[in-house]
């Protein structure tokens, strides 16, 4: 893999997409299809979560199979804050990011000592620990998860309307993509990608390899926490299912089919996977089989992912 460099037509395309998404709720209302706004919000949230994994996996080269832990922790922090009487998203969302980020920092500090398959498995083990902790914590709902009494307020405005939550998610995704796009070309992102390409050389050049990786891992965890807090608002439930390893696998699959290490990989992958689910579920009861076969097809015939079309690579 080479360094990320945006294609010339990427900026106008992203701007066009942003404008189209801003207009989406009004278009859907005009055509009486407001039902789909919930799906669109879900898609944005998963795009955010998958993009956060893409920072860790694509730019950092760390194959984490425990990303759902940070995602789920974000959702639980939102639900627990509300239970404690804090209903302001401007407080809750940063809290979710902080808790998920700090936990990612701790997990990363231990896991990043290992390499390859061992790293995959130890991140998975940490995620399983979190899953079982929340399942057996009766104060937080145990198996059933912790429901939210209602959606939160953002700077005093209620997120109860579907459109307002959609715009909040769009804002979060936009800010994240701007940040990641900037980071990918900044010194930090360059160093991170260089470490992915040749760890030994970067170590020899005197870069603090471990620290760069750890920061990227924690940042990815924090953004996943934000996505989790948004999702809890959307579904009204912090469910232990969000913490399951199959959820980590799903996020991983999104990034892989979208394109590992290209800025838009997470977004494209989330849109593709959730869109496919939506379409296939309408066609056949056994849509998992079709989805599985399609994924196998991607592995065998389009190994570099779909979004590689979006970023120019050289070298």
């Amino acid at each position: 893999m080479a360094f990320y460099r945006p294609a010339r037509w990427q900026r106008p395309l992203a701007l066009g997409l942003f404008i189209a998404l801003t207009a989406l709720p009004f278009v859907l209302e005009a055509f009486d299809q407001s039902f789909y706004i919930g799906f669109a919000t879900r898609l944005l949230i998963f795009a955010l979560a998958a993009s956060s994994l893409n920072l860790v996996l694509g730019f950092g080269g760390m194959v984490s199979l425990g990303h759902a832990a940070f995602f789920g922790i974000g959702a639980y922090v939102a639900a627990i804050c509300q239970q404690a009487g804090i209903n302001e998203a401007l407080l809750v969302f940063p809290a979710a990011m902080a808790v998920a980020g700090l936990f990612a920092l701790a997990v990363g500090a231990v896991s990043l000592r290992t390499r390859g398959v061992y790293f995959i498995m130890i991140t998975l083990a940490f995620a399983q620990m979190v899953y079982y902790l929340f399942i057996s914590a009766r104060a937080w709902g145990g198996d059933d998860g912790l429901p939210l009494a209602g959606r939160m307020t953002l700077a005093g405005f209620s997120l109860a309307g579907d459109n307002s939550l959609f715009f909040a998610s769009l804002a979060a995704l936009t800010a994240t993509m701007l940040l990641f796009g900037r980071l990918a070309q900044a010194r930090f992102g360059r160093t991170l990608q260089a470490i992915r390409e040749n760890e030994t050389r970067m170590e020899a050049l005197g870069y603090p390899v471990f620290r760069y990786r750890l920061v990227a891992f924690a940042l990815g965890g924090a953004v996943a926490g934000l996505a989790g807090a948004l999702l809890a608002n959307l579904t009204g439930l912090a469910s232990p299912n969000l913490l399951q390893w199959m959820q980590s696998g799903t996020l991983l699959v999104m990034v892989i089919i979208g394109g590992v290490g290209s800025l838009w990989g997470g977004v494209v992958g989330a849109a593709l996977l959730l869109g496919l689910e939506e379409v296939l579920a309408g066609l056949t009861e056994h849509w998992h089989i079709v989805l599985g076969l399609l994924l196998l097809g991607v592995v065998l015939f389009a190994p570099r992912g779909i979004a590689t079309l979006f970023g120019r690579r050289d070298g």
Binding site: V117, Y118, A125, G249, I256, H288, I289
Partner: protein, 308 residues
């Protein structure tokens, strides 16, 4: 208390031996071909369903077990030839994606064929009751079927150890796990060897699934939870090492079973009741993951690393 500990220790041994059947195939696939197989748990599930279906058709548990294991081996052969061969030279991400897709397909196929409800599988009638021992003058009861599982597990583990440690094929397998290119260069047909290992691993999965069928429900998704345990086992033991897989599965089986049985009691003795009630089950269920994280922290390659 002694009875409880003895009973739980036997349960732990039985669970550990079944984990070994799963982990043995997985660790070799991992070790020799450096291939992550998330669908190993699906082979376990498919095997258990085959055994359940064949048992119902033949009206005999042992015939059903044999037919089911053979069927799962056949599925393993088809998978290896059609898909896994193409995956060995690919990166871990492709392997994760492909085998994740296999999980989706396997779960849905099983649901389509056998329905979403769990299938109950009965142990053979002769083994349905408990066996009585005399222990320091006290009577001690233990289910006969579980004893048979322990016996079968021990036998298979011993045979596998002999096969891997003493036979020529086993030598090739160990050499392949330590250094695949060198083994190939020395004229061993690693490709054919690997097909055999994969098929053998699938058969062991089905054996474990079939034997555990009467104890646990045979249902969709049964493979995923056990897959994670098998991963924990081979990471603790060291990837590619049969000896590590055996030690790892016995440790994980015993620690998990004893932890779940004894930890709540122990905590109740030392902590206030409500704290113990919350902490006990939580701590018991994450005990093996703590163990694994601890072992990896001090020995990042596991207890018995196979790769030189």
């Amino acid at each position: 208390m002694t009875q409880l500990i003895l009973e739980q220790a036997l349960n732990g041994l039985q669970f550990g031996l079944m984990l070994f059947l799963l982990a043995a195939g997985l660790t070799l696939v991992f070790g020799i071909m450096d291939c992550i197989n998330l669908a190993h748990g699906s082979l376990y599930m498919v095997g258990a369903y085959f055994v359940a279906a064949a048992t119902q058709a033949a009206d005999s548990f042992w015939i059903g077990l044999a037919v089911g294991v053979a069927g799962a081996a056949l599925v393993g052969l088809l998978l290896e030839v059609s898909l896994f061969r193409r995956l060995y030279r690919r990166d871990h991400l492709s392997q994760v994606l492909a085998t994740f897709a296999l999980i989706l397909i396997a779960n849905e196929a099983v649901r389509a064929i056998w329905g979403p409800a769990a299938i109950m599988l009965n142990p053979p009638e002769a083994l349905a009751g408990p066996v009585e021992f005399s222990l320091l003058g006290d009577a001690f009861f233990y289910p006969a079927y579980r004893l048979v599982i322990i016996a079968v597990g021990l036998t298979v583990a011993a045979l596998l150890y002999l096969l891997v440690a003493k036979s020529r094929v086993g030598m090739w397998v160990r050499a392949g796990a330590a250094n695949r290119e060198m083994t190939e260069a020395l004229g061993v047909n690693v490709r054919g060897l690997f097909t055999a290992v994969f098929v053998f691993g699938a058969a062991l999965c089905a054996l474990a699934g079939g034997l555990l069928g009467p104890l646990l429900a045979v249902q969709v998704g049964m493979g995923e939870s056990v897959l994670i345990l098998a991963f924990v086992v081979i990471i603790i033991g060291g990837i590619g090492s049969i000896r590590g897989a055996l030690v790892g599965s016995l440790v994980v089986g015993t620690v998990d079973t004893l932890g779940r049985a004894l930890l709540p009691t122990l905590l109740r003795a030392t902590l206030p009741a409500d704290a113990a009630a919350t902490l006990g089950p939580a701590l018991a269920s994450i005990l093996i993951y703590l163990l694994m994280a601890g072992i990896l922290f001090f020995k990042p390659q596991g207890l018995f690393p196979a790769r030189a």
